[in-house]
């Protein structure tokens, strides 16, 4: 069962020997209760800020567009370099919180009118500095000629300086589907029944961080330090479990002559 905002708040209230809330008076919380409610949201943001690519912040399920595992797909337009990462987002406040820039994939598969042989390849991430240094001038000059012949099959993906868009280099000569993996920003909990996105077993990361704030509020520095230490330990464990659970291999790509 998912953990609700009320559950978490009351867990911390009980730990601190404070008056618990009910679903009826949750919206009327005052004093320390209101502070704890605020601190829970702050703690969730802290977790997201520290590790935005935790799997529960994923923008969607992977593999929706089989066999591609990305959870976001953007179709390129011939002659257009820049694309908003999150369709319909009006500002950075509603954009994705994080994008896996090392995992952009370009393909003509499933593109209307395309037949075999399909284009299907990964896009290498190119820093903005390198792109400006080696490609921008020539590509812009080609683009200015105004014909699709001057465009090409993208090889690199670049990130716009405002973090809102990705760019393709070279500028696409036709429609491609670009698949990538994105993570959303956490939403503040508001109603008593709102559930956290974390699995219940990791709710102690939130409560530890919340206690850290509450003990600071109560000027209990020693307890705040204990809570912070617990938070760090729990966070480390959670990251270890969720981000790096797969076997690790060492590879050596040196060529022997």
């Amino acid at each position: 069962m998912a953990t609700t905002y009320l559950d978490l708040t009351n867990e911390v209230l009980r730990e601190l020997n404070e008056v618990v809330l009910t679903s009826v008076n949750f919206g009327d919380a005052t004093g320390i209760q209101a502070f704890i409610k605020d601190s829970i949201n702050k703690s969730i943001f802290d977790i997201a800020n520290e590790e935005p690519q935790l799997p529960f912040f994923s923008a969607g399920a992977s593999g929706d567009t089989d066999p591609f595992y990305g959870n976001v797909t953007v179709a390129s337009v011939a002659g257009t370099r820049w694309y908003t990462l999150k369709a319909g987002s009006s500002s950075i406040t509603t954009d994705f919180s994080s994008v896996d820039w090392d995992d952009f994939y370009l393909t003509t598969i499933n593109v209307s009118g395309e037949t075999t042989p399909f284009v299907s390849k990964g896009l290498r991430f190119l820093t903005l500095a390198d792109w400006k240094r080696y490609y921008r001038d020539s590509e812009n000059a080609d683009d200015a000629e105004g014909s699709d012949a001057s465009h090409g099959e993208p090889t690199y993906v670049i990130k716009s300086p405002d973090h809102r868009k990705f760019g393709l280099s070279p500028i696409p000569d036709k429609v491609y589907n670009v698949h990538f993996y994105a993570f959303t920003k956490p939403t503040s909990l508001a109603a008593h029944g709102d559930t956290i996105v974390l699995p219940e077993q990791y709710s102690n990361v939130i409560t530890a961080r919340t206690r850290y704030y509450v003990h600071q509020f109560k000027e209990n520095i020693q307890q705040a330090a204990f809570a912070l230490d617990e938070y760090k330990k729990n966070m480390r464990t959670m990251k270890s479990n969720l981000i790096n659970p797969t076997p690790k291999y060492m590879t050596d790509d040196r060529t022997y002559f």
């Binding site: 209230l13 601190l16 020997n17 404070e18 008056v19 618990v20 809330l21 919380a29 005052t30 004093g31 320390i32 209760q33 509020f217 109560k218 000027e219 209990n220 307890q223």
Partner: protein
């Protein structure tokens, strides 16, 4: 975790309604609410006893009880416009207001066969007993209506069977049609006052002849203020007027008899509030309860009222005094003065009263709610047992201060402490637990309420807690098999875990049940300081 800090307080001092919240921080033992509690002999706060019906027969259907008097091992009750007597209230009451009773007395059958002596629109009554040489003394009854002459009654014969006794009854003629509202016996004289046409005049009877106002030693004195009450005190008669108090001296010496003013600045709100307790007369003045001993010493610093702690309550009473009916009684075995007040139309449930317990440092007060007592009396039986009765406006008479309920209705009692700041109002405190020292007189289960920061809406307030049942302990020599709990503590400390934090908090112990009384002796609180937000 910050170290827990202890805080303990002994609950003493009684109700205090006239001290501001900051000053109350320095007097944690007093109560800001103390309703249906009394200050006990030990000074702690004890939930009061209730009352039980006196027998199962009403003296005069549902007619108002206008007066009661413990007399002849029974009770005289004025109900409606008639006067009755009963020893136990179990069978038909004996009507006493009879006409044409023989001057030598009637036997039972003659007395009961006499015609009724009609009394007109009787209001709250006053009684005076002239002990004389008879078995139970002679009783004089006047009432506040001003419609009736004083009624004199006497019963002789000590046999428990009332039908073997002799009865005397008559009306006393003061002078023509003069009536009286107030009466008292003072130094061999009956003194009456309150005739509507001569409200400033007191009349005193002949010496040792209380039903004659024309013989030797009789007379009258007109004062400059309207009389509201009379009380004999030591060798003087205190005459309480609306705005002044006088005392009558030397009533037995025609040449030196004199009325001396005690004060012309303080009057009495109602003569029904006058009682003698602990060597003083206590009465309700417009500015509070006062003692005559205090007010008679002009210039003495003790001239002030004795009820400053409950001044707001007194102010409310004084403001509405014209609409209220008062009654008062002294419970000698508790050193208590009890005064009840309510309007004629008020129900029992909203009727109020105050209880003043005399302690070594003066009176300590509490309130009552739910006792409608327009008539109340206390007195001793021939075996020396103090009996207290009160009557209501439904014609019922009750054994006062008895039982665990108000005749079957739950007793709604509450004690509330001042806010405790634990020595520093600026520090946030998280409460861990409280230990409440109780003295149960039977199984009881009060509830506990904690409110932080003066019950601020901005502070989370915990839910009420029903405390664990407190069993009646089995004490060697008094325990009854099956009714007490072996091993239970005589004065248990009930430990209750608390939640919540605040800069200050108060505790409220309350109950609304028919369980046995209990005393709250003190509180021990364990708290943790949590910064100075």
């Amino acid at each position: 975790m910050a170290a827990g800090q202890p805080f303990s307080v002994a609950l003493v001092g009684g109700l205090n309604k006239s001290t501001n919240s900051s000053a109350l921080l320095k007097t944690p033992g007093v109560a800001t609410k103390l309703r249906n509690f009394e200050v006990s002999d030990e000074g702690t706060y004890r939930r009061i006893n209730g009352f039980t019906l006196f027998g199962d027969t009403l003296p005069n259907t549902t007619e108002d009880i206008e007066g009661l008097l413990v007399y002849a091992d029974g009770v005289i009750a004025v109900a409606g416009n008639d006067v009755f007597f009963s020893q136990d209230g179990e069978s038909t009451w004996l009507q006493l207001n009879k006409a044409s009773v023989a001057s030598s007395g009637d036997n039972y059958s003659a007395f009961t066969g006499r015609s009724e002596l009609a009394l007109t629109s009787v209001d709250q009554c006053e009684f005076a007993i002239f002990e004389g040489a008879s078995d139970f003394g002679e009783v004089v009854i006047t009432d506040k209506s001003g419609n009736n002459k004083p009624f004199l009654f006497k019963m002789t014969g000590t046999n428990a069977d009332v039908t073997t006794r002799t009865f005397f009854a008559s009306q006393i003629t003061i002078s023509g049609d003069t009536t009286a509202k107030f009466c008292t016996i003072h130094d061999k004289h009956l003194v009456v006052a309150g005739d509507p046409s001569t409200p400033n005049t007191i009349y005193y009877s002949s010496t040792n002849d209380i039903d004659s106002f024309s013989g030797s030693g009789a007379g009258s004195i007109t004062l400059e203020d309207k009389v509201v009450g009379l009380k004999s005190f030591r060798n003087e008669l205190f005459i309480f007027c609306q705005n002044s108090i006088f005392k009558l001296q030397n009533i037995n010496n025609a040449s030196t008899i004199a009325v001396v003013p005690v004060t012309k600045n303080v009057g009495c709100l109602d003569g029904k509030t006058i009682q003698e307790i602990a060597g003083d007369l206590i009465f309700l003045a417009p500015d509070g309860f006062r003692t005559v001993a205090g007010t008679s010493r002009i210039g003495d610093v003790e001239l002030g009222t004795i009820s400053q702690a409950i001044q707001p309550i007194v102010n409310d009473i004084a403001t509405n005094a014209d609409t209220l009916q008062f009654s008062s009684v002294v419970l000698r075995n508790k050193s208590q003065y009890r005064m009840f007040y309510s309007t004629v139309a008020e129900s029992q449930f909203t009727a109020k009263g105050v209880i003043g317990t005399l302690r070594s440092n003066g009176f300590e007060w509490s309130e009552t709610l739910g006792i409608a007592a327009p008539a109340i009396t206390s007195g001793f039986t021939s075996s020396g047992v103090e009996k207290v009765y009160h009557g209501d406006r439904d014609g019922k008479i009750y054994n006062h201060n008895t039982g665990n309920s108000f005749n079957g209705t739950n007793i709604e009692a509450e004690y509330q402490s001042p806010d405790y700041d634990y020595g520093d109002l600026g520090t946030l405190k998280t409460l861990d637990y409280v230990k409440i020292a109780f003295t149960p007189e039977g199984d009881c289960q009060p509830s506990l309420r904690v409110r932080f920061d003066y019950d601020s809406l901005d502070s989370p307030q915990p839910a009420d807690i029903v405390l664990s049942e407190i069993p009646k302990p089995a004490l060697f020599g008094t325990a009854v098999f099956g009714s007490q709990k072996l091993g239970a503590t005589e004065q248990p400390l009930v430990r209750q875990i608390l939640t919540g934090s605040g800069h200050s908090n108060f505790f409220k112990v309350f109950s609304n049940d028919a369980n046995a009384p209990y005393s709250i002796n003190g509180l021990y609180v364990n708290y943790r300081p949590s910064g100075r937000q």
